[in-house]
């Protein structure tokens, strides 16, 4: 949560456009976790995700003069990161090894996770690492646009409208992609559902 006297994104963007690089640093600090999360969930590889997140911010800085304020900076930088990540994935279709981050201890108290695993038979204790691998493997088998929609909606919690703005498509397209992606994931994760 930002302190009440913190400058707005618009102000920081304006200062950056005026030639104050420290203002852009503040924007990087505000959005680095979300942009990294996006690139990480799209690639399932920490090193690649880190590179992509950094490059997205560098691109953002390079083209900040083109930002006219038609959308929020948040939407704009997400769009830069989404396009950059999808381009990277298209160029490297052969794929790379999975390098997953650790799951934090907070998951033990996550109501969604508790709810999802409580009905498991006592004979089969859920192995968190196993589940994590299965989830990442399934997500990586989706096409880039479907993976992106699932990541933005079901993992990062963005609305259909926000995703539509970021991906420059209609909300209907977002919904249909989400539906198809979930269907695919259900098939792939049949043993876990």
């Amino acid at each position: 949560m930002l302190p009440p006297d913190a400058p707005s994104d618009e102000e920081l963007v304006h200062r950056t456009q005026e030639g104050d690089p420290s203002a852009y640093d503040e924007l990087v600090k505000r959005y680095m976790e979300r942009i990294y999360a996006l690139t990480y969930h799209m690639t399932s590889n920490h090193e690649v995700a880190s590179d992509l997140a950094q490059e997205a911010f560098i691109k953002g800085y390079k083209y900040i003069h083109k930002f006219k304020g038609d959308s929020s900076f948040y939407t704009w930088i997400y769009r830069v990161a989404v396009n950059h990540t999808i381009n990277h994935l298209k160029r490297n279709r052969s794929g790379y090894h999975v390098s997953l981050n650790d799951v934090d201890a907070g998951i033990e108290n996550d109501p969604d996770f508790i709810e999802a695993t409580k009905s498991d038979p006592p004979t089969r204790k859920v192995s968190l690492n196993e589940l994590q691998n299965a989830l990442n493997e399934a997500i990586q088998r989706l096409s880039e646009p479907h993976r992106m929609v699932v990541t933005l909606h079901d993992v990062e919690g963005l609305s259909h409208g926000e995703i539509a703005k970021i991906m420059k498509c209609s909300e209907g397209t977002v919904r249909s992609r989400l539906f198809y992606a979930r269907q695919q994931l259900q098939k792939l994760l049949k043993g876990w559902l």
């Binding site: 976790e33 950094q54 996770f113």
Partner: protein, 158 residues
């Protein structure tokens, strides 16, 4: 932020909570800005070429790429058409239409510019040759003898 989810996918959504708890190594975000500055300093050294920039643009905007491809194809087709029209020799029909009519041994040549005078036909420069006398088919050779007919009038004093 999240909207109502289809109950069919409720368990899947809950399971995806695991993804939200995946975290990068400790101190990763503390060094993020320093790494950003380091990369920013090296960035101008490797400026992409125009071709790389163009392919990057087309990758990001596939619709734009399709428009450019369509536009280029149309322009190419037009150029090809113009080239073929210029280069193709005139067809038989056109030839007939352009041959000037022959009148009295003179070819009527269209004037092509101011002060243009058509060349006379080759025959105009040659010495006039004696034309052979055409002989009527029913005439006899004696008709051409320049001799007065014999006078049978009685002119003597006999």
């Amino acid at each position: 932020m999240s909207e109502q989810i289809d109950p069919e996918f409720e368990k899947l959504r809950r399971l995806l909570a695991v993804k939200r708890h995946e975290r990068p190594p400790a101190n990763y975000f503390e060094n993020f800005l320093d790494e950003f500055h380091r990369r920013q300093r090296t960035e101008p050294l490797r400026k992409p070429g125009w071709w790389e920039q163009l392919t990057e643009l087309f990758r990001a905007e596939p619709l734009l790429a399709a428009r450019y491809a369509l536009g280029s194809a149309i322009v190419l087709m037009l150029c090809l058409n113009v080239y073929l029209l210029v280069r193709t020799p005139p067809t038989g029909r056109t030839e007939l239409a352009t041959i000037p009519p022959v009148t009295n041994g003179m070819i009527a040549v269209a004037k092509t510019g101011p002060g243009f005078q058509p060349m006379p036909p080759p025959g105009a420069f040659a010495e006039p040759r004696p034309q052979p006398v055409l002989v009527a088919s029913n005439n006899f050779i004696l008709d051409r003898v320049n001799a007065a007919p014999v006078n049978y009038d009685p002119t003597g004093d006999f």
